[in-house]
């Protein structure tokens, strides 16, 4: 038997590197989706598989927390309904005391430990990397597909590039961010990802859909 | 009361139907009654009728703020059944069912009570368990109810999708064959006519705006918008969705919330479904009226609402459920939607009995499913009002149960709103 793995405790919380040293057999949530590709597609999708997803919670009124997070992330935590990109991090506001940070999968552990080293007081860091995935939807009819899927007003005047909302997506939920005029990013929960994929393909069928694997 | 029959129709046709009597009188109210009933819905009218008929008390007024029978009685999906789970409710609803079975004859008014069977489909093991539980309890309580396999169900209802390919495939069903539906308006009108004939005063356009309560916390009558004070020895409130208002007027709160409950009908089509089918899991239910429209019950909104209308997503979800259950309805068209105000209690059972105010009584909380209870409710409340205290049927339904904790939880049996 090998050595006992110690539980690393930081700030009275257990931390663990959850990214395997050998990621070769890992399966992203959308691995089983069967994508039908149309030759004259105007809607495209791709999955940013195996990203690291870290949920950070803390009080915006807690200056030390805000400053600490800013220090680690190299950027202030974004305010309501917005996102910032900083180096390899994308930070999204989810609620007044919750942010989602994504990055390459292997970097999640380092971020978690850096946060825990820096932050004091009351906060939470949770690794969600296996629980959700990022899906990017683009193309001239991506917006129409979203019209069929979310009731949020995604018009560019109300939903400019960089804005983030949590909302309903068909009969599930999603975190939606605008990446470009015709490019959107969805954070999709793992167990719903087959449903979301089927829904999107169905909604996009009339516009022609292609998977950019 | 003039007797209605095929013969009377022939007779009146000879005089061009010019001599039909009014079905109920429109009296001006007296200054005082033995008993005032607030609310001329199905339950209020039935209460008045049984007070007069069973208890011989006819110095009674039913006060109604609008026209009679315009509340929930005018807007329910008319499902009648008695297969409730707990002894107390099964007894009450089964008593009601027995009255339904002779109601047209009793009232000499065809209420079109149609015992075409009510089916509850089961889509999960949990559904199966719940329905088996119901069926077994009912057998012991003396209420008919039986289980069917999916194959049996498919034979009895060919248009229902019992295939394995459904999102939530049907595993079986329970059916109460004595259950069915009735013509809702006729029930109220029949009671109104019969009560009026026995001397009860039906006062329409008479809104109760306050309770007259004396220093000993005893009710002496009510204040009305149109006729000022009307006195009575006892006051029974049967105001359904507005019961909370009654309580407020009398200075107490109740474990009741009034929510919008919606329903909708398709355009009339040729016979499509000759039973009632409901699914708690897929969450929809449907029957077809004698006029041909598919009558579909929708869900309840999560917020208090007195607007007699609810939110659109509820309609959407309901129609999705119906199309899921009956795929052939996809090209049938929805004609009209509406809503009622249902008074819901934490245990989905009614409140019948005394209140903190002496001689003031409440009959409410029938929520999404009181149409079926109309005769039984009227019967039990008449007894309560006549005796000044609840009888055996009503006793378990006292408001006090929410204090002691002796709830009669019928959420399982109530399932989808009906």
């Amino acid at each position: 038997m090998s050595d006992i793995t110690p539980v690393i405790v930081m700030n009275d919380c257990a931390v663990m590197n959850q990214f395997a040293s050998d990621n070769s057999k890992a399966e992203s949530p959308m691995v089983n989706v069967k994508w039908a590709n149309s030759s004259n597609a105007t809607v495209f999708a791709k999955e940013l598989a195996f990203s690291g997803h870290i949920v950070l919670r803390g009080k915006p009124t807690d200056d030390a927390f805000m400053a600490g997070a800013a220090k680690v992330l190299g950027t202030e935590l974004p305010g309501k309904l917005s996102s910032v990109e900083s180096g390899e991090y994308v930070v999204r506001w989810l609620s007044p005391d919750t942010w989602l940070i994504t990055m390459p999968g292997a970097a999640a552990y380092a971020l978690e430990t850096r946060l825990r080293e820096t932050l004091t007081g009351h906060y939470q860091v949770v690794n969600e990397s296996g629980g959700q995935t990022l899906l990017v939807l683009s193309g001239e009819n991506a917006e129409n597909v979203l019209h069929k899927s979310v009731h949020y007003d995604i018009h560019i005047s109300n939903f400019p590039v960089g804005k983030v909302v949590n909302t309903n997506f068909a009969k599930t939920g999603c975190t939606l961010r605008r990446l470009g005029e015709q490019e959107f990013e969805l954070v999709v929960r793992r167990s719903f990802s087959d449903y979301v994929a089927a829904w999107i393909q169905d909604a996009a069928a009339e516009y022609g859909f292609a998977w950019q694997g | 009361m003039e007797k209605y029959s095929g013969l009377s129709l022939v007779k009146h046709s000879l005089s061009h139907h010019e001599n039909w009597e009014r079905q109920w009188a429109n009296p001006t109210p007296n200054k005082k009654y033995d008993i005032i009933i607030v609310g001329a819905g199905g339950h209020g009218l039935a209460t008045a009728y049984y007070l007069a008929k069973v208890h011989g008390i006819t110095n009674v007024a039913v006060l109604e703020k609008n026209h009679l029978a315009g509340g929930n009685i005018a807007r329910n999906t008319t499902i009648v059944r008695s297969n409730y789970l707990w002894d107390e409710s099964a007894a009450l609803y089964e008593h009601s069912m027995k009255l339904w079975e002779g109601l047209s004859q009793d009232l000499n008014y065809n209420v079109m009570f149609s015992q075409r069977g009510v089916y509850h489909t089961c889509h999960t093991l949990g559904d199966m368990r719940a329905n088996e539980r119901l069926v077994h309890a009912n057998q012991i309580q003396g209420v008919d109810n039986e289980m069917l396999t999916a194959e049996q169900l498919q034979k009895e209802i060919p248009t229902l999708d019992c295939s394995a390919g459904a999102r939530y495939p049907i595993m079986g069903a329970s059916v109460q064959r004595r259950a069915g539906n009735a013509r809702h308006d006729a029930v109220a009108w029949g009671y109104a006519r019969a009560a009026s004939a026995l001397g009860v005063h039906l006062i329409q356009n008479c809104e109760v705006t306050g309770m007259i309560i004396d220093g000993s916390n005893t009710i002496r009558g009510v204040k009305t918008k149109q006729y000022g004070e009307i006195r009575a020895d006892r006051v029974g409130c049967v105001a359904a969705g507005n019961s909370g208002e009654m309580a407020r007027m009398a200075g107490f709160e109740m474990p009741v919330e009034s929510h919008p409950l919606q329903a909708l009908v398709s355009e009339p089509i040729k016979p499509f479904l000759d039973t009632v089918v409901m699914s708690n899991h897929v969450h929809g239910y449907m029957s077809q009226s004698d006029k041909g429209d598919l009558v579909i019950g929708a869900g309840i909104d999560g917020w208090v609402g007195y607007g007699q209308r609810g939110s659109y997503p509820i309609i959407e979800h309901t129609i999705q459920a119906i199309v899921e259950m009956f795929p052939c309805t996809s090209r049938v068209r929805m004609n009209r939607q509406w809503g009622g105000i249902v008074d819901t209690t934490p245990d989905a059972c009614p409140i019948i009995g005394t209140t903190p105010v002496k001689n003031m009584f409440m009959n409410c909380g029938w929520g999404t499913g009181g149409f079926k209870g109309t005769p039984g409710s009227g019967w039990a409340f008449a007894e309560t009002l006549a005796q000044g205290k609840p009888g055996d049927l009503a006793a378990p339904f006292s408001m006090d149960r929410f204090v002691t904790g002796a709830l009669i939880d019928e959420h399982g049996a109530a399932g989808v709103a009906h």
Partner: protein
């Protein structure tokens, strides 16, 4: 369908993103063990069921996950305001029960 302003997201959102959690401002008794049965029942079951201007608790369940209060007319369904927990609604001027000023 209601259009509800979330005071945390500071935006109007569709009703489907929310759950209504009933009457607002019902505080859990501080000493439950010494409550009478009626007091406890009042806390868990007895409600105002207001017809007219009503304060209720909502949860932005598909949005930011925060709870907040809404003052809404239960007859007209007009929403006068959304406000944060722990605060009181602004008095609504001269609105009678029918929601007409």
């Amino acid at each position: 369908m209601l259009h509800i302003y979330c005071p945390h997201c500071c935006e109007y959102r569709e009703e489907e993103e929310f759950h209504c959690k009933g009457q607002a401002h019902i505080a859990r008794p501080l000493d439950p063990d010494n409550c009478s049965e009626q007091e406890w029942a009042n806390f868990i079951f007895f409600r105002k069921n207001t017809k007219g201007q009503h304060q209720e608790l909502w949860h932005h369940s598909a949005g930011c996950g925060k709870f907040f209060n809404v003052s809404r007319n239960t007859i007209t369904y007009k929403i006068e305001q959304s406000y944060l927990l722990g605060t009181a609604p602004q008095p609504v001027l001269d609105v009678n029960k029918e929601g007409k000023a």
